[in-house]
């Protein structure tokens, strides 16, 4: 199955970072060309509860720290309407997300750590994959393929998350405590 605008999200285990820290981080990334994406600007929505937080806007994606689903995390969300097989799209989204997460972790040292045992994959594409049972069944194979690469040999639970009026989202989780360094991707 093909999708556009794939998303990947990872949660933090500890973060004492303020919106100001995050804005500074993203502006630094633009100055330093820290990511491979074409970085454009920073948008701050921290005044909106459960909103998109602090966003780095790139041509290809948004990279953002937010608590939109109730838990603080970092998201990579594709912006371009490029239809591609779901597994391939998510592989790309996860790898780009982890690059951003590792870069942020390095910058903040002990002030930021991520929970590698959980990822949320999705797509902002109601045309091809509206959230619901049908899309979940159709995309299960792709989710499993990505899960087996992120958590090789481990038991991984996959389940849809969020309400069905939202965009498609599914959580991949494994047991134990994993940091970014433990992920082979």
């Amino acid at each position: 199955m093909q999708i556009t605008k794939a998303t990947a999200r990872i949660y933090t285990t500890n973060s004492s970072l303020t919106p100001s820290d995050l804005r500074t981080l993203f502006h630094e990334w633009i100055q330093q060309d820290a990511l491979d994406e074409l970085l454009l600007d920073v948008a701050d929505y921290t005044h909106v509860p459960r909103g998109p937080g602090v966003l780095l806007v790139a041509h290809e994606c948004y990279v953002g720290f937010d608590d939109a689903d109730g838990r603080f995390g970092l998201s990579w969300s594709g912006r371009q309407d490029a239809l591609a097989p779901a597994a391939e799209s998510w592989r790309h989204a996860v790898s780009r997300l982890l690059v951003a997460a590792r870069t942020a972790e390095r910058r903040f040292d002990n002030e930021l750590a991520f929970d590698g045992a959980q990822l949320v994959l999705g797509c902002n594409d109601r045309l091809h994959a509206p959230h619901g049972e049908a899309s979940y069944s159709a995309l299960q194979g792709a989710l499993e393929a990505v899960a087996s690469e992120v958590y090789p040999g481990a038991d991984c639970k996959i389940e849809p998350v969020g309400e069905f009026r939202q965009c498609f989202r599914a959580r991949l989780s494994t047991t134990g405590s994993l940091g970014l360094a433990d992920l082979p991707v």
Binding site: D44, V48, P49, G51, P52, V57
Partner: protein
């Protein structure tokens, strides 16, 4: 076959909208192939609501250097200096702010799929989505069209969204509901042949009454205020006729103009034809080449209101009859919202709930709830911080509207959403639902609910961060909201990122607009402080600038002004009266220390803007090579010109229009001389000589030209110089002061660029 929204929505889009969107899609393709002229495509795009955004010229200052953005599509443009791949903004017209739950859900979905998951309510009841890719625009338009929304003529030189009181039909002070008229005029003028040849935008508004602010009729090109009169019918009995007081030529912008009364009573049958006649006159006589003079206010000013009236009446008489002028009147009842039948609830149970109020409810009810004219029903305003709502919040609002109202909501000009027809007994459960959606802030209509334009966040013309400042002020004020003095709590703060006034700072009690100043070789963000504008009476009078204060000192400025108001206010005195009574000099003295900028070493924070850690810049930042502080002649001169402007305002306060106008002209002369002296060292104080030298060295060479306004501000000097001191009228003197203020701002900008 690949699925597309175009195919999915076949049969679900009104045929005219479908055709229009298909045409736009073809134009996009033709432009990409280089077969459509850039300028033509640019204006077409704007008239479809697809607007540019900051950095879309492909360069951005990253805090250290200005860098080119290497978009994949390269140099292909979608308008002058606007690159194809650069994200833009989609402005979505919401006529009179009217929304239904399906439309909210559609906006929510689009914001998630094509934008940054935020829908932004504007000060003109539009909704904007940012970071849109142009190639996605036709799809967005189709999905909007499928729920009855168009983006057509949301931008460009066209009739913009027609706004109206969000409380229309329910408000105690209105003689009748204006909704149907706003709706009919929207439909009539949308895409009308006679409205396609304007030199600039054209804004229309409807208000239910003269005393409140909701419709802001007098700041529009055309502003209708509901009116009635008693007439004798054919049977000889008296009946009430509905019509409108009509104002023309209002507008904020760089130089605010209060609208002039066109007619004290336009019968309702004449609303559409008179509007068209005015549009035709504007299309014919409005300026086309000089954008700075192209609004209706300049036509009214040039002709004078009497001659303008006559011209419009002649035009009206020549219109060919159109049945649409009155056909909508047969449908007025379709706009009457019928609430769900009131639910019966026992007095005992009402009493029980009244003694068991959830936390925060009382404050919420005080600020966000007002009784409708219909007994037992309420209007509930949902505060959106800076006009922003998430997709989840919009869906929650859609659910709430279905649950508690007949499914009608309105976007407000204060960037909020109004729920209508909420039963008394539903207020508590509604409050709980709003709280669950994080939408229950008890701030509607208070000082905490700061209005702001997009400013430097996304607007190409932004000079300072209006949203950054507004967010900072809201956060600080929210902490002490409930402990604020009642008189302060009800003040309005409005912030614009530049002189264009999209944040409506002129009509705020406390307004700010972004400017910059050069300090020791650095550019420092500042805000001009504008005090004492009038929000009520449809935004009828404007505040005057007090001077530019460094952006970082604005929160302290608000504290200082509000403290002064609390301590020196007379019983029952409004903020406007207070400012007038104590005088601007007194206020300015109270703020004096806040004008200072510490050195970069002392406090580098002053050299960046709110919410943006980059070293502040309005372009390429140049740092002087001086070892110590060197103040140039030009800087002294510019400071002196600001002093003179202040004195001009004082003259105006005492009713001395001639003195005010003379001093304002002086201020411009001082600034012009300060800038020119470098190039004409022997320049004397003779006004003719200064103007000639300024024209020769700075105007003809275009050195003085603002990147966007071009030579507009220089013309204020030339015009004032020709007109001289022959001004006795208060409005004209006020206008001269406003223009002088802008000229001086432009002089600062020019100085910044040249130094």
């Amino acid at each position: 076959m690949t699925r597309t929204w175009k195919n999915e929505l076949v049969g679900k889009i009104p045929p005219d909208l479908k055709e229009e969107i298909d045409v736009f899609e073809r134009q996009i393709a033709r432009r990409k192939e280089g077969k459509l002229d850039e300028a033509v495509f640019g204006e077409t795009r704007l008239r479809r609501g697809v607007y540019g955004q900051r950095y879309d010229n492909g360069q951005r200052f990253d805090g250290v250097q200005t860098r080119q953005i290497a978009f994949p599509s390269g140099d292909i443009s979608k308008g002058a200096s606007t690159l194809w791949d650069a994200p833009g903004m989609l402005r979505i017209k919401i006529p009179y702010g009217g929304l239904n739950p399906e439309q909210l859900e559609c906006l929510a979905a689009l914001s998630e799929e094509y934008s940054d998951a935020i829908s932004h309510v504007t000060t003109r009841q539009d909704v904007q989505l940012h970071f849109i890719q142009l190639d996605d625009a036709p799809t967005l338009m189709r999905r909007l069209a499928a729920v009855g929304i168009t983006t057509r003529e949301a931008c460009g030189n066209s009739i913009r969204n027609i706004t109206a009181c969000p409380f229309a039909g329910t408000c105690k002070t209105e003689p009748f509901d204006v909704t149907a008229y706003a709706d009919a005029l929207t439909a009539y003028l949308l895409g009308h042949d006679d409205c396609q040849d304007f030199g600039r935008k054209f804004k229309i508004s409807f208000s239910g009454c003269a005393a409140e602010a909701c419709g802001l009729a007098t700041i529009h090109d055309m502003g209708f205020i509901a009116a009635t009169r008693e007439v004798q019918n054919a049977a000889g009995t008296t009946e009430t006729e509905h019509g409108f007081e009509l104002y023309v030529g209002g507008g904020l912008g760089a130089v605010p103009h209060t609208a002039k009364l066109f007619d004290a009573f336009i019968p309702r049958e004449e609303v559409l034809p008179i509007s068209l006649a005015i549009c035709r006159v504007f299309g014919r006589l409005g300026e086309k080449r000089n954008r700075a003079k192209a609004r209706l206010k300049f036509v009214v000013k040039k002709l004078g209101i009497e001659a303008f009236r006559e011209t419009v009446r002649t035009e009206r008489a020549n219109l060919r009859h159109d049945p649409r002028w009155t056909s909508f009147l047969a449908d007025l009842d379709s706009f009457t919202e019928s609430p769900k039948a009131p639910r019966l609830i026992s007095p005992a149970s009402l009493k029980r709930s009244a003694t068991n109020l959830p936390e925060g409810y009382k404050a919420f009810a005080d600020s966000n709830v007002r009784a409708q004219k219909q007994d037992g029903f309420n209007l509930v305003t949902v505060s959106l911080p800076l006009g922003d709502a998430t997709a989840d919040q919009l869906r929650a609002l859609a659910d709430i509207a279905r649950r508690y109202t007949p499914g009608t909501l309105r976007a407000t000009v204060e960037q909020n959403i109004a729920l209508r027809w909420v039963r008394d007994e539903d207020l508590l459960p509604l409050y709980r639902d709003l709280r669950a959606a994080q939408l229950a802030a008890a701030t509607a209509g208070t000082i905490v609910d700061v209005t702001a334009c997009p400013g430097t966040d996304t607007c190409k013309l932004g000079i300072a961060s209006s949203r950054g400042l507004a967010g900072e002020l809201s956060e600080r004020l929210a902490i002490k909201n409930l402990s604020l003095d009642e008189a302060v709590r009800n003040l309005r703060i409005k912030v614009s990122g530049c002189f264009n006034s999209c944040g409506q700072h002129h009509i705020a009690d406390i307004g700010f607009w972004g400017v910059s100043r050069k300090v020791s070789g650095y550019t420092v963000p500042h805000f001009q402080v504008v005090l004492g504008g009038q929000w009520t009476h449809n935004g009828q009078s404007y505040g005057l600038a007090m001077g530019a204060i460094p952006s970082r000192n604005i929160p302290a400025t608000v504290d200082r002004i509000t403290d002064l108001f609390v301590s020196e206010r007379q019983r029952g005195e409004s903020f406007q009266h207070f400012v007038q009574r104590i005088g601007k000099k007194h206020v300015r003295t109270a703020l004096e220390d806040l004008f200072a900028v510490p050195s970069h070493d002392e406090d580098p924070n002053y050299y960046s803007d709110w919410g943006d850690p980059r070293e502040y810049s309005i372009g390429d930042l140049g740092i002087g090579e001086c070892a110590g502080e060197v103040i140039s002649f030009a800087q002294f001169g510019l400071a002196a010109s600001e002093r003179k402007i202040f004195e001009a305002q004082e003259f105006l306060e005492t009713g001395d229009s001639t003195g005010a106008a003379t001093r304002a002209l002086d201020a411009m002369m001082v600034a012009a001389k300060a800038l020119t002296k470098d190039r004409a060292p022997n320049l004397s104080d003779d006004a003719d000589e200064i103007v000639a030298a300024f024209r020769h060295h700075l105007y003809d060479t275009e050195l003085f030209f603002d990147p966007y306004a071009k030579g507009k501000f220089a013309n204020y000097l030339f015009q004032a110089h020709s007109a001289g001191a022959a001004i006795t009228d208060v409005d004209a003197a006020r206008q001269r002061i406003e223009e002088a203020q802008l000229f001086i701002e432009a002089a600062h900008g020019c100085h910044g660029r040249m130094s």
